[in-house]
Structures are given as C-alpha cells and as structure tokens.
Symmetry: C2
Subunit: 280 residues, 2 copies
C-alpha cells in the first residue's frame, strides 16, 4: 500500500483535510493532558504541511534494485516531495537481477539544487560504475549541489570515488567497510551514519533504515511513525542474529568472506586506481 | 550486493567450488565435535546443490514495487532458480510510485508447473486488478498449477479474489486483514502465514520475511543465513514499536484508520461484488 498523503489528487486531498479535522479530535480525547493535546494538534498541523523536497536516486547498470527501491518507497511517502530515479539517459536501466527499472529523469534534466542524492549499491556493476568518468562527474557535481548526498550498501563507494566522502565518517556493506579509507573516509560500524551532509548505511536492507532516518528528519517523528505503520515495518528476521557479522554464525561469515575475497580485493585495487587518476 | 551463488557463470562457479573446499575445512576447525563437523559438511554439500525452482512474481499496473522487489531479491539468491516478473504483456508496468519495472515473461510465456507464484500488493491498482477477469483467471490457473501461491500485503486479496484462499488461514496488510473472510479465508494476525500451499504476509516490508521463510524452506537454514548476512538484514526500525498496530502509538493507528476508512470500505464492496460474480 502507498504511503499516506503521497500523490493526492485534489478530491482526495479535500477528503483528507476533512478526515484530519475529525482525527485531531481523536487525538485530544486519547491524550491525557492539555499540553499533550496541544502537542498532538501541532503534530497534525505539521503533518499537513507538504514539503517540496527534490530527491534523486541514481540508477546505473547493475544496481541492486532493493537498495534503490526501499528508500524510494519510504521517501515517496512525503506529501509534496518529488522522488525520482535519475540515470544518464531515459532508457530503462538493467538491475543486477536482470529486470529493468525506468529512470524518470536523465542527467541533463537534473534539477539545480536537489535536497538529496542517493546512490544504490551493487556488485560488478558498481565496480564498473566507478570506472565511468561521466557518471562520477555527475555524482560529484550533483552531490555537491545537493543539501545531502548519500549511499546505500556499496553505493557509498561510488560517492567516495567521486570525492564526496573525504574526511567524513561513513559506512558501507560490512564486507566493503574497510575500503572506505581509500576514498578518505573513516569507517564506522553502524547501520546508518550521518556526517553533516553525507549519509551512508550498511548492506541492501539498511536502505530501509536510512530512508526512515531521513523521513524523520524531513517530516518529524509523528510522520515517520505513520509511514512505518503503513509499511508494517515490524521486521521479524528468520534468524535474529544472522544479519550482522558480529553476531552471525562464524561459519556463515567465513564462507561469505571466502566467497567474496577476490571481489573485495578487486574493488580495493580499482578504487585506488580511480582515486589516483582523479587526483591528477 | 547480489545474493551469493546467483547467476554464476562457468568460471565463477569453478572458483566458487574451489573456495568451498577451503571453506569447508574452516567449518571443521570451528566446530567442536565430529558430529557438528559432519553436519557442517553436509550443509556445505546441500548448499552446493543448485535447484531449478521456477518462481513467478506478478506485475500489474499500480503494484507496490517494494512488495515485489523485496522477495525477488531474497529468492534470486538461490543458485539455479529462475525468478521472473510476469505480466499480461512484456510492456513495462507502472508501479504505484510512477516508475516502471519490466516483466521478463508475458502471461502466454508462463511455464507449465511453476514452483511459486507471488502477488505483490498495492492500493488503487490492486482494487482495479480484481476487476480484471483476465488477470484473475491467470492468477487462478497459474496459482492452481503452482506448488505454492502467495501474496504480499494486499496482494493476498488478489489471490483470494481468484478463489485461491477458500478455507485457508491467511494474513494481509493490517488494515485489510478483516476483508479476508469475504474471500473465504480465516484471518490470522501474524507476519507470515503458511497454510499448506498458500503463503501470505503482512504489509509491504513483510515481503522480506516471507522471502526468507521461503528461502529457508527451499534451501535450508544455512543458506538462508548466508543470504540474510549478505543482505545485512539486521533491521533497526527507527521506532521499534511503530510498525505494528498492536504496539504503535494509538493516535498514529487512529489517523491511518481514519485516512483509509473509505478505501478499506470500498475494497470490501468491490471484493464482495467480484466474489459474487465469479461464483455464478
């Protein structure tokens, strides 16, 4: 189901305003003190105020679709915000899993001062992306022009390769965390890391938590809770400890490290080469 | 990053086999007893055995992209499995958020006996979908031909409208849970519900948990833990209680119920009408 208040047409919006009038009286009756009631009322008023955030999520061949679509879902719940996929051209972009997703803007249609640029991760496609100077130039230029720029999973390494993480605290997929110093960033073992105007997060599913953290900052706790409830984000991982290398079964960690050792080493070399070349 | 073992080419696969030989000795050294070591070894062998599951995820105009892409990510991690988006035609399908996703199969290219058919939810588009007899016929026919058929969020109501939840225990987005009796199902307040060959789950993000439950059943606990670690599925919701109506702030629940009361009532009427018409 769609986040509330998003893409409301005129009629729906009028109905919604009427609903809120009724709902706000609900708040008053469920609140115990006058101060609480005032606070709840203020929340509703804040909730009603649509924003105008211009949010861009980059697509490039081989991106991991879930990295891009999880924060898109969360942020698209903000009334008035424009949340668009952007790519070099308007051609559909092949994801890592084969299917394509359509960008809604091409690089030359990029708005002047976006509020947010987000970059999803991937595997081989993400390594290829950092070898594409036009893509890195776009990321650097647009990231610098944006109020906030961020990366999900290995997407943070694209941000870094573009020079946008120098001197910043940042995170990445747990298997690529140690590569962050190559782009001048300080690795932090944390699900979501914000350093002034840069936001990064762990692997794939961490994009949901990054999305909610941004939503909370843009629209406040009440709004974020509304979207969280609508998304029924009450996660029940099948193995509560399996998603974090610090708590997962050591043999599973060892296997994944073994499987990806060449890949991670290759990442490091390419990243070093790109940083050296771009420093010239 | 991509799930391990998926889409391996010949060379990568050979490398992987070599890696596993090394990794399995790691297991032996980290295991305390011979029985544990045997078990770990058996896990590795099981892990290596690629399957041939044919998995279909339906796309229809207005589907919620996250509902479809979360389980796609998880299941695409199974070596040898074919996980494809299917739609009436091969034209890109507009999601609820405006961007399109490309189906990889059209209805007339549907395999004979799929292992799994999954149906994502949506809002207005999902209500429209149940008024499309060709789509419901496809779901009924393909769902009956599949070993397992399931729905994410309001996608379960499409499954139900096609007649596939009669007499079954099932769940749905918390706001549409009470509509399940209209399609002859018994509502269960649970994140993921399996009843023989039907699987349903709660709203939007519950599709991740549904995906992992299926992965565990197809490939075992060890494999599922591997994909969970790769996806870094160690969720940290910003508000730990906000994603479940039973624990969320009452004013947030009240607001969402108020906002969606007309929508849910409309769903109920359309669903009743469709069930009546199809019973004729």
């Amino acid at each position: 189901m769609s986040p509330p208040l998003a893409n409301l047409d005129h009629q729906t919006r009028r109905d919604f305003l009427r609903s809120l009038t009724a709902a706000s009286s609900l708040f008053v009756t469920t609140k115990s003190t006058a101060a609480d009631a005032d606070k709840a009322h203020a929340d509703v008023v804040a909730l009603l105020k649509p924003g105008k955030e211009k949010i861009l999520i980059l697509l490039y061949p081989g991106f991991t679709a879930l990295d891009a679509i999880a924060p898109h879902y969360v942020l698209a719940g903000m009334t008035g915000a424009s949340v668009k996929f952007i790519a070099a051209t308007l051609d559909p972009v092949p994801s890592e899993s084969g299917f394509t997703v359509s960008p809604q803007l091409s690089f030359d249609q990029c708005p002047d001062k976006p509020d947010l640029l987000l970059i999803p991760g991937g595997t081989a496609g993400t390594v290829q992306a950092i070898e594409n100077p036009a893509l890195l130039d776009f990321v650097r230029h647009t990231g610098e022009a944006s109020t906030m720029a961020g990366g999900i999973c290995t997407g943070g390494l694209i941000l870094g390769a573009a020079g946008l993480l120098k001197g910043r605290r940042a995170t990445s997929h747990w298997q690529t965390l140690d590569l962050l110093p190559i782009v001048g960033a300080e690795p932090v073992k944390q699900r979501v890391v914000i350093d002034v105007n840069r936001i990064t997060c762990g692997g794939v599913t961490a994009g949901l938590d990054l999305g909610f953290e941004l939503l909370r900052q843009y629209r406040g706790d009440f709004y974020a809770q509304g979207v969280q409830l609508l998304a029924e984000y009450d996660p029940q991982p099948p193995f509560p400890k399996a998603g974090n290398p610090a708590t997962a079964a050591p043999e599973v960690v060892a296997l994944l490290n073994h499987m990806h050792s060449d890949y991670v080493a290759g990442w490091g070399k390419k990243l070093s080469a790109v940083m050296e070349q771009r420093a010239k």
